[in-house]
């Protein structure tokens, strides 16, 4: 299925650690948080790749590296075959845009909506005033806001409307890849549905590719073509949506699904509750990071991290249960 697809972005053996300083006097380097640990995957043109995981799994760090906002410690990110980061070609800066979680803090309160949407074009293009206005009006219509919104300021809008404005700002440069970091988490339920529908509609109309990050499994399932599950800086499972949900391989993915309260009282079910807390990324367990909470952990899991491998066609999993190393 993926062979004939065009690769838009490639992430190769990415690592990112943040040094953690302790001790006031000499700022001794006492360790490092490994936010991203040997992560590799592709994003194909036109798809929505969903990324799901709990706090500390590296979601936001990954998106910042992909945007070129943070440098990787090791490995690389290629966009259309070219390296992302400082000195990336200007095409990259236009074609890859980001949508943030918080529609309140991500818009400058002193700018009116016209300025907010216009700003990226002033920085990245040489369009005339007329051309800019045409684009603004085009985008405004796409995202479902009236023209009279232009002269108003962010505080005059609801959360859902502000998220629409954030989307407009990201779309005005006609990007190809949109990195969406928890774009609906701050929204109310009824507004969340509007914005999710808008994402789908825009994708069809503007041929967009999304990396869609969320902690909400149902949202990820709704929007994605493929889904990637991360835990403590590592990819645990990556598969087309139907395979990931229909034939879940990794015990962590199963646990995540079992933990979600379903809005259907008839489905109240016996859960497999995970014991214990998420380990600290400062001091991750040896071997597989999930072994401390995994109901299926075996001896090998405590010493060696399993590689991410293709257990079935297009279905990748990093778990010794499928590596032939653990007795099933």
């Amino acid at each position: 299925m993926n062979e004939n697809k065009e690769v838009l972005a490639e992430v190769k053996n990415l690592r990112k650690s943040f040094p953690v300083n302790k001790g006031m006097l000499w700022r001794r380097r006492s360790g490092a948080v490994r936010a991203i640990n040997d992560v590799s995957f592709n994003i194909y043109k036109g798809e929505t790749l969903g990324l799901i995981g709990e706090s500390g799994c590296g979601k936001t760090t990954l998106s910042r590296i992909m945007m070129g906002l943070t440098d990787a410690t090791e490995g690389e990110v290629l966009y259309k075959g070219q390296q992302v980061g400082a000195g990336a070609p200007s095409a990259f800066r236009k074609e890859v845009q980001m949508i943030f979680q918080d529609p309140y803090s991500s818009l400058d309160p002193r700018m009116n909506i016209r300025r907010i949407i216009e700003e990226p074009m002033r920085i990245h293009t040489k369009l005339s005033a007329r051309q800019k206005l045409d684009r603004i009006l085009f985008i405004l219509e796409k995202i479902g806001l009236d023209e009279d919104a232009l002269e108003r300021f962010p505080h005059e809008f609801s959360g859902g409307q502000r998220q629409r404005i954030g989307i407009a700002r990201a779309l005005v440069l006609q990007p190809e890849l949109l990195i969406c970091d928890e774009p609906v988490s701050a929204l109310d339920m009824s507004v969340q549905a509007q914005i999710l529908n808008l994402f789908k509609q825009l994708q069809q109309e503007m041929k967009l590719t999304y990396l869609f990050i969320s902690h909400d499994m149902s949202v990820v399932k709704h929007v994605s073509d493929r889904v990637m599950v991360m835990y403590l800086g590592r990819i645990m499972e990556l598969a087309p949506k139907r395979k990931l949900f229909g034939n879940t391989l990794h015990p962590y993915t199963s646990a995540l699904m079992s933990a979600i309260p379903l809005p259907n009282p008839e489905l109240r079910r016996a859960r497999t509750l995970l014991e214990g807390d998420l380990p600290s990324p400062l001091n991750p367990p040896a071997g597989c990071p999930f072994q401390t909470r995994c109901p299926k952990a075996q001896a090998v899991c405590r010493t060696r991290m399993p590689a991410l491998q293709e257990a079935e066609k297009d279905h990748f999993v990093a778990c010794h249960l499928y590596s032939g190393e653990a007795g099933a």
Binding site: E54, S55, S158, G159, G160, Q161, D188, M189, S190, V191, Q192, A193, Q194, L196, N197, K200, H215, M217, S218, V219, K221, H222, F245, A255, L256, M257, S258, A259, I260, P261, L262, P263, N264, P265, E266, L267, R268, R271, L273, L274, D277, L278, R293
Partner: protein
């Protein structure tokens, strides 16, 4: 009988500049012993204001209870003195907040804070208090409780802090626990642990619980009855199974249809048009009318009362009143 709490026509308004926000505008409900009542609704619909009114924790500078009564053991909580409240809050009725960081005191150890909750209401020796604290920490599933006694809140993870908060809330075996978004700040796997814990303890001590959430999944799993709020009023109330199987208010229907589902595939979600309006008192129409596909002129002329249907199911919608309720939902 086993009625624990009965709230009648509670009104709590906030003054904000020159306008008056009818945050809670005539809310009535009851809670039985051992029952879990869910309050759901979107941000700003008044859930937390209901909770803070019940437990007398409103911001006195701009919040005012405009009316209503809250009967607890036959006494109106709205008429209690400050002194009386200090014997009720924490002992008879306690509260679990969304954000354990802000509810726990950063300068005291967790052990001290739980001990304080115990000794405010009961006399006991230091040794007794310590033993009780260890017992409580064990009850809420904190491993190695003896060594956790001396932890400060920041030395614990979010999930642990929330367990400690639950321990404080339960210290005196209250009859009612009000939990306002108790797991919203937590990761899903930790949320599942905390919900299971709350459910186990509630059953063990036969407490009544009011669980506030904006998450339909959580109330579906935890609650016996559900109250759906919109714009400061209850728009629908009923048994959990009935709310989900046969919602009657257009808002509830819309909400349920707008949730992306894990067990089915839908290409587009139903989306309630518009957004939650900012209301000012007094409100003389159905608060949902501006977003409702079925709104007719009557809905703009007067606000519907909660109309009672079968099995105590109540819905604040003029459509309920029609002799034939032939408004089969074309959105479903």
């Amino acid at each position: 009988m086993n009625m624990l709490l009965s709230v009648r026509n509670l009104k709590t308004y906030y003054r904000s500049g020159s306008s008056v926000v009818p945050a809670v505008d005539g809310v009535s409900f009851h809670l039985r012993k051992g029952e879990v009542l869910g309050i759901v609704g979107e941000s700003g619909c008044g859930k937390s204001t209901v909770a803070r009114s019940l437990i007398n924790l409103l911001d006195k500078s701009n919040a005012r209870i405009e009316g209503g009564e809250v009967l607890f053991h036959g006494e109106d909580l709205m008429k209690q003195s400050r002194k009386a409240w200090s014997r009720i809050r924490g002992k008879k009725i306690s509260m679990i907040f969304q954000n354990p960081q802000s509810a726990l005191n950063p300068v005291y150890t967790v052990g001290d804070q739980i001990a304080e909750a115990l000794t405010v209401h009961q006399k006991m020796s230091r040794k007794e208090a310590r033993d009780r604290v260890v017992e409580l920490l064990k009850l809420v599933g904190i491993p190695e409780p003896e060594s956790r006694l001396t932890n400060y809140p920041h030395e614990m993870s979010g999930g642990m802090q929330q367990r400690a908060m639950i321990a404080i809330a339960l210290a005196c075996h209250p009859e009612i626990v009000i939990a306002d978004e108790p797991t919203t700040a937590l990761d899903v796997t930790i949320q599942a642990q905390i919900l299971a814990l709350m459910d186990r303890i509630r059953a063990q001590f036969q407490m009544g619980m009011i669980l506030i959430s904006h998450n339909m999944g959580i109330v579906a799993e935890m609650c016996d009855r559900i109250m759906v709020m919109y714009g400061g009023v209850v728009v629908e109330e009923g048994e959990t199974a009935a709310i989900f199987a046969a919602p009657s208010h257009p808002y509830t229907k819309g909400l349920l249809a707008s949730i992306p589902s894990l067990d089915e595939d839908r290409d587009t979600l139903y989306a309630i048009p518009g957004s939650v309006p900012r209301l000012t008192a007094p409100v003389g129409h159905c608060r949902f009318a501006g977003r409702c596909a079925y709104a007719k002129s009557k809905c703009w002329e007067s606000e519907p009362p909660l109309i009672e249907g079968e099995n105590g199911h109540r819905s604040r919608c003029w459509l309920m009143e029609a002799p034939d309720r032939g408004h089969d939902d074309e959105r479903e």
